[in-house]
């Protein structure tokens, strides 16, 4: 059960956070929400699809990290296996929550999940200096949280522009692996290139004025990154087979 607390220098002066990504820290997710401002970096490493929020039914762009449930192929023995870490992963274990001011205005504040395995009192990076000033690490995290806060609205606008022009379609990604097995990804949505190419000038210009056209082409470019996931998965399969063979040799 998550235990969200308002982050304060008095309460959390001595607390540290383990920033490394691993299955043990709960990073074993198959995909993670991403935002248009980070698309350029994201598309270089991960395919960008769309998924639906089960609670609201709304669409959001998401970077694919694995080929099955609870698999994150970028969690490697030496750490994160890509040159970019999506903001939603970087911000863990912090969240934005909203506090009502006396005037009834809601303002965003930083919260921390005290139940997260990342939060410790002796290991990792400190959140505050002894003086109570936020550490460099915390300052960076707060910047990411602000970007995420803006990003949610950005995602909403992006998705509704795509839906209005019927540019999203349900897609079934099927990949074959070296051991002859197949992985089928369901529940993801992709851009419909045929429809994109048939758009009239007016629609294109409106997409362009919101900078959505740029984001659309970043998504299209990202699809070739599926091969990165397949390579990583094949590598794991090979490693597993090797281990199996060497274990057999030892047994003999």
């Amino acid at each position: 059960m998550p235990d969200y607390r308002l982050l304060t220098s008095t309460e959390h002066l001595d607390h540290c956070v383990i920033a490394e990504k691993s299955y043990a820290m709960g990073d074993g997710m198959m995909h993670v929400m991403v935002f248009p401002p980070e698309f350029r970096a994201v598309q270089h490493h991960f395919p960008i699809f769309f998924a639906k929020d089960p609670e609201t039914g709304s669409f959001y762009p998401t970077a694919l990290l694995g080929l099955e449930q609870d698999e994150n192929l970028f969690l490697e023995s030496h750490g994160w296996g890509a040159h970019y870490l999506p903001m939603m992963m970087e911000r863990s274990p912090f969240f934005i929550s909203f506090q009502s001011s006396i005037e009834g205005e809601k303002r965003p504040v930083v919260s921390i999940d005290m139940d997260s395995a990342r939060v410790t009192k002796n290991k990792g990076i400190r959140l505050f200096q002894d003086s109570g000033e936020p550490s460099k690490y915390l300052q960076d995290v707060v910047k990411k949280l602000e970007a995420i806060h803006k990003g949610h609205q950005h995602n909403k606008d992006f998705a509704s522009a795509l839906l209005e022009l019927e540019l999203l379609e349900s897609c079934n990604v099927e990949v074959g692996l070296e051991d002859g097995s197949q992985r089928k990804l369901t529940g993801f949505y992709a851009l419909n290139e045929d429809k994109l190419h048939k758009l009239d000038g007016e629609s294109l210009s409106s997409l362009h004025s919101n900078n959505f056209l740029h984001s659309i082409y970043m998504c299209l470019a990202s699809y070739s990154r599926i091969s990165t996931l397949v390579e990583k998965k094949n590598f794991l399969i090979r490693a597993k087979n090797k281990q199996f063979v060497s274990e057999k040799e030892v047994a003999n």
Binding site: K52, P54, G57, E169, S170
Partner: protein
């Protein structure tokens, strides 16, 4: 040789649900492409005739129909006070089953390949048939929806139709038909019907106009202005099989706005008929359908109010003012005569026990849209096929409705005793019942294409009401054949049911989300 004129101008008389649904279905097929418009659809409705507004339950077919005519499911929910209907639950239809039985819309597990009736009978279990084979029953009990907000429009985890406010539905369809589909709307009273020399209808005269057409569709309701009044096509009385000819319809408001919405129609048998109970977004619709030869209006009124009192809390019964409807159960001897076809109550009406009114409108209009006669000669062929087709559909509806009455063991009134009398049972149904004593209903029973009710519906009613099909004489081989597959089906159903209960929202929760978020088409 005389050139045949093409069928280009379709005139629909009557602006209730039947009229607007028919107009929308035909127009969406033939008028969407305005450039190459070859067919023109005009609907005439009288400004001073009020619509009857019965028919608040639909079949799952309505999803296909709404999608076909281009209505968004989100708009439909927001504008028609609609809710999900996942089947019907029957209360007090038998003595021994004090508990209810259900006719859910979702087919039994693996229904395409496996008939689970005999394996279920062999289990000799206390679990009712529908519950053993269909995952929808625990959903009813928990007031759950058949889908999630993330499920695309018109798709579902479970099969569903709708409950709707018929008046609001007609409004939505009118707007859609006139604004999006190009249907011409004339709001004038029709004064006379004018014939051609050959006896076809030439035109309708209104207070200000004479409106000519090639095909006239009579959606004028029970008065059947064109087919019945003008052409004198008689009504075939079906009173000898289905006694109900009266209804008292009432609206019952919810105690508060968060009141749970039922997932199915509730049908509760009474002394001389049954009471329907339908949950919409802001109110329930409840009504008593009864036989005027077996009870009086006053007694029916008392029974209805007693039911409403028992099923509501904090209700002021004085505020309930039921509307009386009388009808002659039956249908026209033919539905399409010359250049006139009747759709809706002008074609026939029967008690709404299985909500067959709107589905017949959908089917009739679809046949016209899909098989639109090319010219006047061709129309006679289409008409002949149409009459044959719908005569069979009416017969199978009458058989299926009557099935609900013949299986009862109720003896507490003349109504129920007479309903089981052999002279009140259609021969075709008697034959089927005799057959089902030895073989449970299965796909091969449906010897015609486009059957009204799948074999599953007969199974749900028969075994829900305690019907017994004899064991096979060659039990050993048969048991060997199905035991493995069947137990897998029962287990799959069980698992599916548990999973659905854990992920599906309540009807109220989902409808609130449809208002706040909307559903997507993908």
């Amino acid at each position: 040789m005389q050139m045949q004129t093409e069928i280009r101008k379709i005139i629909i008389l009557g602006g209730g649900t039947a009229g607007w649904l028919t107009a929308s279905i035909i127009a969406s097929e033939h008028m969407l492409d305005q450039e190459s418009m070859v067919v023109n659809v005009t609907l005439i409705e009288s400004p001073n005739v009020s619509t009857i507004g019965v028919g608040e339950g639909t079949w799952p077919s309505m999803r296909t129909t709404l999608k076909r005519i281009g209505v968004k499911e989100t708009d439909f929910f927001r504008k028609c006070s609609a809710s999900f209907k996942q089947g019907t639950q029957f209360f007090s239809w038998t003595n021994k089953h004090e508990q209810s039985y259900a006719h859910p819309f979702t087919l039994p597990n693996n229904f395409a390949k496996t008939n689970l009736v005999r394996p279920w009978q062999d289990l000799k279990t206390d679990i009712p048939f529908a519950e053993a084979v269909c995952p929808q029953l625990p959903i009813f009990a928990r007031h759950l929806a058949p889908k999630q907000i993330s499920t695309p429009e018109y798709a579902g985890h479970l099969n569903y139709g709708y409950h709707l406010d018929a008046g609001k539905f007609a409004d939505l369809l009118r707007h859609h038909a006139t604004e999006a589909l190009g249907v011409v709307h004339i709001s004038e009273h029709v004064i006379s019907v004018n014939n051609k020399e050959n006896g076809d209808i030439k035109s309708l005269t209104t207070s200000t106009n004479e409106i000519t057409g090639d095909l006239f569709i009579d959606c004028s309701g029970m008065q059947s202005m064109l087919l019945g009044n003008h052409f004198g096509i008689p009504l075939l009385d079906k009173h000898q099989y289905l006694f109900n000819d009266s209804a008292l319809a009432a609206q019952v408001s919810y105690e508060d706005e968060n009141h749970p919405i039922e997932s199915c129609t509730r049908s509760t048998a009474q002394k001389a008929g049954w009471i329907w109970d339908i949950g919409l977004q802001t109110r329930r619709g409840a009504g008593y359908v009864y036989s005027s030869s077996h009870t009086s209006d006053e007694k029916a009124y008392d029974e209805l109010l007693e039911y409403i009192g028992e099923t509501s809390t904090n209700i002021n019964l004085d505020s309930i003012s039921p509307k009386k409807i009388t009808f002659q159960p039956g249908h026209r001897t033919v539905f399409w005569h010359r250049n006139c076809v009747a759709i809706g109550m002008s074609a026939g009406f029967i008690e709404p026990l299985e909500a067959s009114a709107l589905v017949l409108v959908e089917l009739s209009a679809s046949v016209i849209a899909d098989q639109l006669p090319n010219d006047r000669n061709h129309m006679d062929i289409v008409a002949k096929r149409f009459n044959k087709n719908f005569r069979r559909r009416w017969d199978s509806i009458i058989d299926f409705l009557k099935l609900h009455y013949v299986l009862t063991d109720r003896e507490d009134s003349i109504y129920w005793r007479e309903n089981k009398d052999a002279s009140t049972i259609p021969e075709s149904l008697a034959d089927s019942l005799a057959h089902w004593k030895f073989h449970p209903p299965w796909h091969e029973d449906n010897i015609y294409a486009n059957e009204m009710f799948p074999a599953a519906s007969y199974q749900y009613v028969l075994y829900g009401m305690g019907f017994n099909t004899q064991s096979l004489r060659s039990t050993k081989t048969a048991k060997q054949r199905w035991s493995g597959v069947a137990s897998q089906c029962f287990e799959n159903n069980n698992q599916q049911s548990r999973k659905l209960c854990s992920i599906l929202p309540t009807n109220r929760e989902l409808i609130n989300k449809i208002y706040s978020q909307g559903m997507h088409t993908i």
